[in-house]
Subunit: 388 residues, 2 copies
């Protein structure tokens, strides 16, 4: 996508310029609050508080946490990825645009690029593994993209992309490892910052965002650097999906990850350019990881209590706020009496009822009607699934 | 609940007065649009258009339908019932209030009354069948109500209510068959009317609401009578749950219904006082019913496309708009070139991930991976469930 050195610098004002460039094309998604979940976040988690009696304990508890959910599930194509794709295209010259764009992705970036290309009236070539789910292929075609199939290894995919570039001269738009993508994704933080202030004039103390390839987390950190709002990243811990956290701890970026975490948007390793931001303690104050059960419990609350339809990746930041004892101790220490106002990035809502059915299928009738899962909070076992 | 004859008359201005009385206590819930679903509604339904390629057919099709979703799933307690309960309490004298309130309900009305009573600082006695789901009992207790168990027949429940009234002097607040409840529920229509106008200055041509006991539908019809906005009711057809439609057709209210439709909020027969409004063709222009599969298909679209978490009952009006050929022919005939702006009442979002898992469990792996269900639209079979 052009020369990286010709991109704007990774600064808050570049994110502001990106926002001005794309805001005609994207939704200013709502920021919502949910008293029940904020109350839960302010209460030590027990099986009762997760199972429908959040008001049983009404004494104010530490840490006091008010949550502000940035609903990128209501963004065009159902995820924040539309921001980066529109920004990337806004940075191309007319001549570059005329050749079309190409990427390899089977997820939200494919649809985002297809939509942005259609809006600009240019071709989008999307390389997808033959084994992609039919609904994702159909959705990408539905946005008018030219879908080209490949094998599923990254070598196979990149070979097909190279062929497309050779044949058409199309410009490669990568999913996260590019400054223009990072700046585009970061625009959500500018809106969240303003919207939280409209809801509570104290504004935000912190933002927690999910981290896969790191394009969005690094963009958010860039957008908020210098504002006093602390930025934290969150990952699944399953099968080493917490590569960014482990990389930051060891001081070396981890380049390969192989995980089937339910948070399927966060399976990718951190990109090189995002790494430069995310490993900078001044910009990202900390990385936290959560278990699959904690992600499911947070996702349940977002669905059943906040009534917002989100994909598992979007539930990861809330899982950190609710269940990570280190995170909670830090908020208690730094937030004091007043507590913290925390922005939570709900990154997307592209899942299906079948996928939810698979995640939460009722315990079989032979079982006792109550499955339990260790959520790792205060050593308590927390009921995760009450059949019925 | 006092004497019915002392209630305000069933007029639009009484609904406006009800709104003024309760608006400090309720949420002004958002009205949202969803381009994808409006496009689907404007396109004859085929398996492709339901399975992720809504843009495959981009030629404008008749009837042209723009949908405006009134999100009462974001109302306090997760359903419109909070409106009626707060209004009923606002009509009681201090002396009446001091004795507390009582009802029998295992659903949204129980929680609504419990919340309204807690807000007024008075006791709420809620009679629930012993077999109620634990999460509903917990939620009702969570709002501070005194839950009293009974058998599950209506005789058993009413006997317990009578005992409570004898013991405490508490005032009975019925779930739907009362003018104050109807006027309270109708307040959602005033907001929807205004919000749709803010989104499109043409305003609404019609509203479709679900109908169970009929308290909300009759309130909506009362609120909009004289505005030119047509009001329609919608019911499940399963096991005779379309009692209001059948009653209106035959001219006699049907007093008993026994159905286990998935739209569990709509299993009750139409109440006497709602009947007087709903059977008046000037006020409710028509009743429509849909199959279980049509409700599921509409619910899937609301979850996966609009990203709003709703209970099955809330999907019934959209199912009518998408799949009822009589309704669609009428819109085509009456709407002409311009089509209709239709308000859809999303009545509530109180369901669980387990319930959704049960509704949409993936086809077993022995099966071909594709279940089909007849949706009854143009005689086509429509793919309902693509495993994976």
């Amino acid at each position: 996508m052009g020369d990286v050195s010709s991109c704007p610098p990774l600064t808050r004002s570049s994110v502001q310029a990106a926002h001005a460039a794309i805001k005609q094309h994207i939704h200013r998604t709502p920021t919502i609050t949910c008293d029940t979940i904020s109350h839960l976040a302010s209460t030590p988690q027990t099986s009762d508080s997760l199972q429908g009696t959040p008001f049983a304990n009404r004494t104010p508890a530490r840490p006091r946490i008010n949550l502000f959910f940035k609903c990128e599930n209501y963004q065009k194509i159902g995820a924040f990825k539309a921001r980066g794709a529109f920004h990337a295209l806004s940075r191309l010259s007319k001549e570059e645009l005329s050749k079309g764009v190409v990427t390899h992705s089977s997820g939200n970036h494919a649809q985002a690029l297809a939509l942005a290309a259609r809006t600009h009236g240019i071709p989008a070539h999307i390389v997808m593994p033959t084994i992609s789910t039919p609904s994702k292929i159909a959705a990408t075609k539905g946005y008018g993209a030219n879908v080209i199939f490949s094998g599923s290894t990254s070598d196979e995919r990149e070979a097909v992309v190279a062929d497309v570039i050779k044949d058409t001269g199309a410009i490669l738009v990568p999913p996260y490892d590019h400054p223009n993508i990072m700046l585009g994704q970061g625009t959500l933080a500018l809106e969240l910052e303003e919207q939280a202030k409209d809801l509570d004039e104290r504004g935000l103390d912190a933002v927690v965002a999910p981290c896969g390839g790191g394009g969005m987390l690094s963009g958010v950190a860039t957008a908020l650097y210098g504002t006093g709002i602390r930025v934290f990243g969150s990952e699944p811990s399953f099968e080493g999906a917490d590569d960014a956290k482990r990389g930051v701890e060891s001081g070396t970026r981890i380049e390969k990850v192989k995980t089937l975490t339910i948070a399927d948007g966060l399976r990718t390793p951190l990109g090189k350019i995002p790494w430069a931001i995310i490993s900078d303690k001044e910009k990202v104050k900390g990385m936290y990881s959560v278990t699959e059960d904690q992600i499911k419990a947070a996702m349940r609350l977002l669905l059943e209590r906040a009534k917002v339809f989100v994909e598992p990746s979007a539930a990861v930041p809330l899982a950190v706020v609710l269940y990570d004892e280190n995170f909670r101790s830090m908020v208690e220490k730094e937030g004091g009496e007043q507590g913290w106002n925390i922005g939570i990035v709900l990154s997307g809502g592209n899942t299906t009822v079948e996928a939810i059915a698979k995640l939460f299928e009722p315990a079989s009738e032979q079982q006792a009607g109550r499955q339990e899962a260790k959520l790792g909070m205060n050593g308590e076992r927390v009921a995760e699934n009450v059949a019925g």
